[in-house]
Amino acid sequence: MLAELLEPDAILLHYPAQDAEDVVRQLSQKLFAKGYVHESFADAALHREAELPTGLVLDGKVNAAIPHTDVDHVIRPAVALATLSKPVIFRHMIDPTEEVPVQIVFLLALDQPKSQVAMLQEVASILQDAVIIERMMEADSVSDIIALLQR
């Protein structure tokens, strides 16, 4: 399910992001270029990130963020992914005053409430699996990532 929604042209590996905004904009631009989201998606996702952040502290070496925004900015559902060469700061989902150094980002473009349940559950199960996250961090090609997700 995730493997189907993950857009191969919207995967950045070992991306040297300047900051959280940089990675959200890069991934949004890639989804926009492929016709998944409106141009407004990046600003909307960043606005939401400022108000209600999506940084998650995981049970392994790296932490994650799952930026997303309202359905109005989405044309059809997709997921974009970035692994970062060094962490950037997102804010903690429950305690926005807390800084979370994030090194893997799943940008979610969801087009209707409750529609992509299986995909969301798969994202959550990956976030809970430190071994898969570590392998994704080491992946050097899009096909490595797809292979990991299809296991």
Binding site: I66, H68, M93, I94, Q121, V123, Q128
Partner: protein
């Protein structure tokens, strides 16, 4: 079967993390023999959605004066402390 307990699950957009949390709670409580029904809403809508709600579970900051028990947790996303949170939910639902 007794009337289902109503759990209001809140997140920022009501489409992503609350979906994962709602599914996780439904499955876990079914396994524990507790009849629950979940509703999803945006954190900003919580106050207007409290009617008939037994418990609020949120992945974003929510006020602590809602008049119903509130659990803020990321355990359904990260897995960290999930068993503890499920126990806490079960206990709260069995109490009233």
């Amino acid at each position: 079967m007794s009337k289902p307990k109503v759990i209001l699950v809140a997140c920022g957009t009501a489409i992503a993390t609350s979906t994962v949390v709602a599914k996780g709670i439904e499955e876990a409580m079914r396994d524990r023999g507790i009849n629950v029904t979940t509703r999803q809403c945006k954190a900003a809508e919580i106050r207007s959605r409290l009617s008939g709600v037994d418990l609020v579970v949120s992945t974003t900051p929510v006020p602590d004066d809602l008049g119903v028990p509130v659990i803020q947790t990321l355990a359904f996303l990260t897995g960290i402390g999930k068993e503890d949170v499920l126990n806490q939910i079960e206990q709260l639902l069995r109490e009233d």
